[in-house]
């Protein structure tokens, strides 16, 4: 962000944007309760939500669409926050959980577990996902430590790691084709199809804890953006805080992937939009990015169900379409600035 336009004091732009996004999210989630194979009246939805008498569709509203909207918000927020943290820590505007290979690592680990340890209950799938994501992240990080690698080169390494793991995912799918093989395919494109309260319960505690931890680290990240030396001069323990924040970022993305699959480009897009909306200070940028990610994912899921019911278009397809287009615009805009 250019210094010329920076105001003398923080101003109200950040809080106002946060409040607007915070208001938009429940509105979208409410709209999501109407979209789907069975159209519902406003009265029906409100009755079901509030437990009042009259026409009700408790199962559709409370057991199917409500947990789905909540999970979309949570997972989208987690991916966006993860992307924001990774971009800040690597000081690389093109990094994201997908580009750095974390999503593919988590997806690979989840599929290995699902196919070869079928006894493991589904509520524990976030554990192997986190391990897979951490391994992919560690691999990229280890590569980054070799020599003085520049941040954009790191993107390339992450891309290569991701493609290698994607090849592994394909191989797993082919080796395990069976009557249920379409379920992992749907999951891989990033879909909230068939997700309910049990999935929400299995990931919500982890995601919320990590998100809180990340936001506490946010203040320190503001100092880090000054560069490692100056931050150290101001009393930031660079190594420790970097590692902690990166760990939080990797686990956030991996756990989100374990329930909703690979939602393309949310982690890449959200931090950029947030930076343009409220500026680069992490204390305000991180929550904005998380909220934007939640809004985007809830919106994509709702749209995917509304376009041509009873068909469902995976949220991941819509976020990837929007996200990749946005990424291209970003590349072109970057070119203009240079």
């Amino acid at each position: 962000m250019s210094d010329a336009r920076r105001p003398e004091f923080p101003g109200l732009r950040g809080p106002v944007t946060l409040a607007l996004l915070g208001a938009l999210l429940p509105v979208l989630m409410f709209a999501g309760l109407f979209a789907g194979a069975i159209p519902l009246e406003i009265e029906t939805v409100v009755n079901s939500l509030l437990g009042r008498d009259g026409p009700r569709q408790d199962f559709i509203v409370l057991q199917s669409r409500l947990p789905r909207a909540l999970l979309a918000a949570l997972a989208g927020g987690a991916l966006a926050l993860s992307g924001a943290l990774i971009q800040a820590l690597m000081r690389n505007p093109l990094a994201s959980p997908k580009i750095v290979g974390i999503n593919s690592g988590a997806a690979f680990a989840v599929l290995v577990t699902a196919f070869y340890i079928p006894a493991l209950p589904h509520s524990l799938l976030p554990v192997p996902a986190a391990l897979g994501g951490l391994m992919a992240g560690a691999l990229v990080w280890w590569c980054a430590q070799r020599g003085d690698i520049d941040p954009r080169q790191l993107t390339l390494v992450g891309l290569a790691v991701g493609l290698t793991l994607d090849a592994g995912v394909d191989a797993l799918l082919v080796a395990n084709t069976g009557p249920e093989s379409s379920a992992p395919l749907i999951w891989l494109t990033g879909s909230l199809w068939g997700r309910g309260w049990t999935h929400l319960a299995s990931v919500a505690p982890v995601l919320l804890t990590l998100a809180a931890a990340a936001l506490i680290l946010a203040f320190r990240l503001d100092l880090q953006a000054l560069g490692p030396r100056r931050a150290a001069g101001l009393g930031v323990r660079i190594g420790l805080e970097r590692t902690l924040a990166l760990l939080a970022a990797v686990i956030l993305a991996s756990v989100a992937v374990s329930v909703v699959g690979v939602l393309g480009f949310v982690g890449l897009m959200a931090p950029h939009v947030a930076t343009r909306l409220v500026g680069g200070r992490h204390r305000i940028m991180l929550p904005t990015a998380a909220l934007f990610g939640a809004v985007l994912t809830v919106g994509a899921d709702t749209l995917g169900r509304a376009i041509r019911p009873p068909l469902e278009i995976s949220a991941g397809i819509l976020t990837a379409l929007m996200g990749a287009a946005f990424f291209i615009w970003l590349l072109i805009a970057e070119d203009r600035r240079i």
Partner: protein, 347 residues
């Protein structure tokens, strides 16, 4: 006199020549071995090389001979054609963009072509256009978009932006493909298997179509070989020597898009052949495109034929599509090459 028979390194030049010949011979042997392995394996145990004799038997061929003639041989030929087309396309793209990581898959051409095919299946108005043409046109459009992102409009190609832009263009193309088969249930079954690069059902018409593009494509590429060499010296240098690098860029990209388009219309998007084959070729015989072209043909065909043979040989419930075998070989290779590069210089 002795000076003439010795190269600069002090070794007799004859040995260098024969080493090149040796490499060619070894490569041809590997290719032949792969073709044999591919021809010898399949669903039926009673089909072997002896059945090749039935090629010209016509109606009188036994079932085993028919299997060889109608299924095994076309499939192996198609694998070879794919390898040749994609290898040459990759070599052309790497030369004209001067970027060793360029390839049809990484620049988004594969995904664009796949989108073209899916549109041909879903939009009635496009059904009359042949698949290879749709795939080529959309592949070319994707390449143009990637080049524009890389900064071609303002007169240069930034190598990193070329790769990242290509990945983003590819992501859009592939999401659109997925969107297509989500909306049209009828084509889903057909397309899902096709998107991983499956050649199990290819027959002789597909093999012949691939080779019908491979031969003239190779000829045209050979005519460009000298200019491709000049491109390697830098755009300014090739300008100075009387060639317009932009013309070479356009011609090379169009040719690469055509070769990729026909391959994808036949077998689905197969990645990594176009990336890996040129690298192995350069590693074997240096940077002269007049020699690289025949070598990349041999290597591309060897890669896909072996991948096809492996996909039949690996013991599992269902055959792995050749595209996945290639990805499993090619993706780790990409990782290693990026790592080795990152230690020394920029891409």
């Amino acid at each position: 006199m002795t000076d003439l028979t010795f190269s600069r390194t002090g070794r007799p030049s004859r040995i260098r020549l024969s080493r090149g010949g040796m490499r060619g011979a070894v490569l041809t042997c590997v290719l032949a071995a792969g073709a044999l392995a591919s021809l010898l394996t399949g669903g039926r145990d009673d089909v072997g090389l002896a059945q090749l004799a039935g090629l010209f038997a016509g109606e009188a061929a036994s079932p085993a001979e028919q299997t060889m003639r109608d299924i095994r041989l076309p499939r192996t030929l198609a694998a070879a054609g794919l390898g040749i087309n994609l290898g040459v396309a990759g070599l052309l793209l790497q030369a004209v963009t001067r970027n060793p990581l360029a390839s049809p898959a990484i620049l988004g051409i594969n995904q664009g072509a796949a989108l073209g095919i899916v549109l041909g299946l879903t939009v009635p108005a496009l059904a009359v256009v042949p698949g290879w043409l749709l795939a080529s046109v959309f592949g070319l459009a994707a390449a143009c978009l990637t080049f524009a992102i890389a900064g071609l409009v303002s007169g240069r190609i930034d190598s990193m932006r070329l790769i990242l832009g290509g990945v983003a263009v590819g992501a859009i193309g592939f999401s659109a493909v997925r969107l297509g088969y989500t909306l049209e249930d009828d084509i889903a079954r057909e397309v899902v298997r096709w998107t991983v690069g499956d050649i199990a059902d290819l027959r002789i018409d597909a093999a012949l179509r691939l080779l019908a593009f491979a031969v003239p494509g190779l000829g045209l590429a050979y005519l460009m070989a000298h200019r491709l060499n000049l491109m390697a010296m830098g755009h300014a240098a090739s300008h100075g020597l009387g060639f317009d690098p932009r013309a070479t860029l356009v011609q090379g990209t169009v040719l690469a898009a055509l070769l990729t388009g026909v391959s994808i219309s036949v077998a689905g998007p197969i990645a990594f052949v176009g990336l890996v084959a040129p690298h192995i070729a350069r590693w074997l015989c240096g940077a002269d495109h007049r020699r690289l072209l025949p070598v990349v043909v041999l290597i591309g065909a060897t890669l896909t034929i072996w991948a096809d043979a492996l996909s039949k040989l690996l013991p599992q419930a269902e055959e792995a599509p050749v595209g996945i075998v290639v990805a499993m070989l090619g993706a780790p290779w990409l990782l290693v090459s990026v790592l080795r590069r990152s230690g020394t210089a920029h891409v």
